[in-house]
């Protein structure tokens, strides 16, 4: 359970760093966001949802069933768009922010 931050996409805005409930993120020597200890991540996706440029990929550790898949989000005022990329497949799940869970 953790995240990977794509260095070439990171715009150094620092929003992910501010949001992390474990204070796990910082800037590296290139002023890009980085997670110091990937195994400290809780997997809450607070940082993923803060990142407006889709630079943070969220994945499952291989010890809990990770098999190469990852997700990231993009947002509009109304929707959170969850982009889920797995082996050989890409899926987009759009969730209306004001819509309640059915279950």
């Amino acid at each position: 359970m953790s995240i990977k931050i794509l260095q070439h996409k990171c715009i150094s805005c620092g929003k992910c760093k501010d949001a992390c409930p474990g204070n796990l993120l910082g800037f590296n020597e290139n002023e890009k966001a980085a997670i110091q200890h990937p195994k400290d991540c809780w997997g809450c996706t607070a940082c993923v949802k803060e990142c407006n440029v889709g630079a943070i990929r969220y994945y499952l550790g291989s010890d809990i069933g990770g098999n190469g898949g990852y997700l990231f989000t993009t947002q509009t005022d109304e929707y959170i768009n969850w982009h889920i990329v797995t082996k050989g497949d890409k899926k987009l799940i759009k969730i209306l922010k004001i819509e309640s869970n059915e279950y």
């Binding site: 204070n23 809450c44 607070a46 797995t86 059915e102």
Partner: protein, 560 residues
């Protein structure tokens, strides 16, 4: 490392900006002119156990229920050991706080007549993904409320036996901060990371409760001599395997049954289906070779499956990703379930500060609310809101004739020097912070009823645990921090060890088995009617002293 000293003053200091803390601050701001500081180790926008969101509001009085029937349910589910007075005071406020959070912007599902749609008897359906950002933006509307993000409070400031403030350090700046207040409200949440977790390697933090809730509020209270209650009533969650995602969305939401490896329902073989029995029965089936256990979802429609994908993205995205990783969603495969490691968390069970009806602790000047406050299991999110309101309203009155008191400078320097000491170790410890944490979790797992013993323990094992935890406490004195992140980790470890110490005493001294899994004392494997009472404790002169108190009923007025 040099640490700059800073001092602040406020009317009410709230430690922890979660559901309880934020609601408390809002209540004070709406009902008085008093100033409030909320201090949080992270950022209140996403701090604490609801960082990812929450799946439902699980404490609500639906049309067929009453506050009294809610108390009856909590009492039955908790095997009698609750503070009925506290639970009733929460139950009476559940619906008004729900309406309030809806006004702030939380989406709640409604039927055509505009009534909330229930998910079981005491639960309503929401989209809880943004519950923390919603609360945070409401807090920021009030000029009276100042928010100090990224400050780790490590201890109360005490004068003449009264709590007069708190001290801590900024996690991103070299600053030690003392905050004085006329009243202090502890709302730091419960304690995770005491026991070896389900996934001890790379995914060690993929746990039920936030791994960043490290029992600071309990530990500060223990060190200051506050009375604590029911630490032995641990909470162990029944969760989706590996991702440790909630099961209620499937079990309650779509009515999926618990089945064993042979496809047979099994829960009712083990007694009335309480929260603890649903867990205990799963552990038992596994232990007799009838596992793995599942929630039976195979065959649900594609439409239901799509809705489950969305519901999990709104609170535990790992589960949706896991389903999609191998294209094996819940319509194709049943969802495997397992028990987590134990936690201490007063929002689910009864562990925490011993409080009066206003949520005053036994230490003058200190309130406790939310997961750190004991006696009222199953308060969940809305119960935490309710406690925030109750303490907030009381604090407004309490501070009217209170003055700010301060400590002498040398006493503040003592705190600063203690914090700084971890940067200035001459001899580096043989052990890293992480190694000592792993040692603690292993001891608790093996000798204090962790996953590896199916949560059972006995006095011989607890004696070993007591000795080993003391050894680790001494080892922490030599730990070295190279930066503020490591400094935070050292204080989190120190706090967890204090919580472990008290927990072990409580497990030892309840000489019965009151709750399956939560507290299974192998020396006394049966429930004992003479133990229908609270087990409380105080830390005095370096020793933990436990004692019992008789149950307090809903029509009683308890005063410290």
């Amino acid at each position: 490392m040099e640490l700059e000293l800073k001092t602040m003053e406020t009317d009410v200091l709230i430690i922890g900006g979660g559901t309880a803390g934020c609601f408390c601050a809002l209540t004070i701001a709406e009902n008085s002119q008093s100033n409030v500081i909320i201090v949080d180790k992270a950022n209140i926008k996403r701090s604490g156990c609801l960082a990812a969101g929450v799946n439902a509001l699980n404490a609500y009085i639906t049309d067929d229920e009453t506050p009294e029937s809610f108390v009856d349910y909590v009492k039955k589910d908790s095997e009698e050991i609750i503070r009925e007075d506290l639970v009733l005071s929460i139950a009476k406020r559940l619906n008004q706080v729900t309406e309030k959070i809806e006004r702030m912007g939380l989406p709640i599902l409604k039927d055509k007549e505009g009534n909330y749609v229930s998910r079981g008897k005491r639960s309503i359906k929401i989209n809880g993904e943004s519950i923390k950002p919603i609360l945070a933006s409401e807090v920021y509307k009030y000029e009276q409320i100042s928010v100090l993000n990224k400050v780790n409070i490590i201890d109360y400031l005490i004068k003449d036996g009264e709590i007069i403030g708190a001290v801590g350090f900024a996690v991103e700046k070299n600053v030690v901060l003392s905050i004085y207040a006329k009243a202090v409200v502890c709302a730091t949440g419960g304690a995770a990371g005491l026991y070896k977790p389900n996934n001890p390697e790379f995914s060690r933090h993929k746990m039920w409760y936030s791994p960043f809730n490290t029992g600071a509020g309990y530990a500060m209270g223990i060190r200051a001599g506050a009375e604590m209650t029911s630490f032995e009533m641990r909470f162990i969650a029944l969760r989706c395997k590996d991702t440790i995602a909630p099961t209620g969305t499937i079990a309650q939401g779509i009515g999926a049954e618990q089945i064993n490896g042979r496809g047979q329902p099994y829960v009712e073989k083990y007694g009335k289906p309480t929260t603890a029995t649903r867990l205990y029965s799963t552990i038992m089936e596994n232990s007799v070779g009838m596992g793995p256990c599942y929630l039976q979802t195979k065959g649900i429609s594609n439409g239901v499956e799509e809705q489950l994908y969305k519901a999990y993205l709104n609170m535990a995205p790992a589960q949706t990703l896991k389903w999609m990783e191998n294209n094996k969603g819940p319509s194709k495969e049943n969802v495997e379930i397992q028990g987590t490691e134990p936690y201490i968390v007063g929002g689910h069970t009864g562990s925490g500060y011993w409080v009066d009806i206003n949520r005053k602790t036994t230490l003058k000047g200190l309130y406790a609310i939310g997961d750190v406050a004991g006696g009222s299991p199953k308060k969940y999110v809305t119960g935490c809101f309710a406690e925030g309101e109750i303490a907030g309203l009381s604090a407004i009155e309490f501070i009217k004739d209170r003055q700010i008191k301060e400590l002498e400078e040398h006493e503040i320097m003592r705190h600063r020097n203690f914090i700084r000491s971890f940067f200035n170790k001459d001899n580096e410890s043989l052990y890293s912070i992480e190694e000592v944490e792993i040692a603690m979790q292993k001891i608790m797992d093996e000798y204090a009823g962790g996953i590896s013993t199916n949560y059972k323990y006995n006095e011989i094992g607890l004696k070993i645990a007591t000795e080993r935890i003391l050894e680790l406490q001494i080892l922490t004195e030599n730990l070295k921090a190279n930066n503020l992140f490591e400094l935070t980790a050292i204080f989190e470890l120190i706090d967890r060890l204090y919580v472990c110490k008290v927990l072990i005493h409580h497990l030892k001294d309840r000489k019965e088995t009151r709750w399956r899994c939560y507290q299974e004392n192998s020396d006394y494997p049966k429930q004992d009617v003479d133990w229908c009472k609270y087990l409380n404790s105080k830390y005095e002169d370096g020793e933990i002293k436990t004692f019992t108190r008789r149950l307090i009923r809903r029509d009683e007025i308890y005063e410290h």
